[in-house]
């Protein structure tokens, strides 16, 4: 029992001594480091955090974000709309040109058809119309 107690006492003394050495070591190290001149360095994250924490910069960043997130899609939409309108106008012009060409082609066909019809019309009058035809002939002769 006495041996255990004395052993514990020895251990406690050793621990106390170690803790005292540790304390003095930290104090000495701290004094040495404290006296050393140094420039404060800040991390990138700290710089970013400070930038964001600044109300003016935060406002500017928020505005830029809103402009980017709203302005860019609106601009893209507008550009697409303009392109679609230009395409539609181009197609309309093509269609009009096509219609004009077709009408011209159709017009040629009508002329041909009329001449064909004229050639096909019988020059002789039917029997029932003979009196009228003779009157017309007489009137033309006079």
């Amino acid at each position: 029992m006495k041996f255990e107690e004395s052993k514990h006492e020895f251990e406690d003394t050793q621990v106390e001594l170690a803790l005292r050495n540790f304390r003095e070591s930290v104090h000495g190290w701290s004094e040495q480091e404290y006296a050393r001149p140094r420039v404060i360095k800040r991390s990138r994250w700290d710089a970013i955090f400070r930038l964001v924490a600044n109300p003016v910069m935060a406002g500017s960043l928020a505005s830029a974000l809103v402009i980017t997130s709203v302005g860019v899609p609106v601009r893209i939409h507008h550009e697409r709309q303009v392109a679609a309108e230009q395409n539609a106008a181009r197609e309309r012009q093509l269609e009009l040109a096509k219609e004009a060409r077709e009408q011209q082609a159709n017009a040629m066909t009508d002329d041909e058809l009329l001449s064909h019809v004229d050639s096909d019309i019988a020059q002789g009058a039917p029997d029932a119309m003979q009196p009228l035809a003779s009157m017309m002939t007489d009137a033309a002769g006079n």
């Binding site: 050793q14 540790f22 070591s25 701290s30 991390s43």
Partner: protein, 199 residues
């Protein structure tokens, strides 16, 4: 009217960054005295906790800056040192959090290894043999500290480096005295184990 820059300069350190401020000259003068008195202790606590002199210096500046900004609101319910250490502990927590709580697992260029930290010994009149023993003890304590949780380490540093009483530690950290004792007991168990004790 004194500015924060002049306050920091009065602490014995050059103010690298200029901070805008507009506080009453009386408050600034009073705070300059407080800062000059407690700055070394805050630096020491942060250095022991972080093992990084640059980080300790930066956080000490941040701590005093925060304290300066809130100096008018300090009502003296606790001691100035307790209040300053509380700010320092919160900054230290943020620092660790920002490094994903991996500080003690990482060794970057600024942090000092536990073995190196143990090289600083008081210049006593002890013999070379005693110095070797002391150096080994300090190294083992650092090794034990390295394995402690953040809270255990803080309690251990406040008790055995800053020599604060249990109730002071409890007030500073915002825990009950019983919880502080429990953390301290676990920390001491690890230190004893590292030093070769059975208890």
């Amino acid at each position: 009217m004194a500015t924060t820059t002049t306050v920091l300069e009065s602490m014995g350190k050059p103010a690298v960054a200029a901070f805008p401020s507009a506080v009453a000259s009386n408050d600034s003068a009073e705070f300059a005295d407080v800062a000059a008195r407690y700055r070394p202790q805050i630096f020491r606590f942060l250095l022991a906790s972080l093992r990084d002199p640059d980080a300790a210096e930066t956080l000490t500046q941040d701590c005093l800056l925060k304290a300066h900004r809130n100096w008018a609101g300090f009502r003296g319910e606790s001691s100035v040192m307790t209040w300053l250490l509380r700010i320092a502990i919160n900054l230290q927590k943020d620092h660790w959090r920002s490094r994903r709580l991996q500080f003690w697992k990482l060794t970057n260029s600024n942090s000092v290894d536990a073995d190196d930290a143990g090289q600083w010994l008081p210049s006593g009149e002890s013999s070379p043999e005693q110095q070797v023993v002391a150096r080994d003890q300090v190294r083992l304590v650092w090794k034990a500290v390295k394995g402690l949780s953040e809270r255990q380490r803080t309690v251990f540093m406040l008790r055995h480096v800053e020599e604060m009483e249990i109730h002071e530690i409890a007030t500073t950290i915002g825990l009950s005295e019983g919880t502080v004792k429990a953390h301290l007991s676990r920390a001491m168990g690890r230190v004893r184990s590292e030093l070769g004790g059975k208890r």
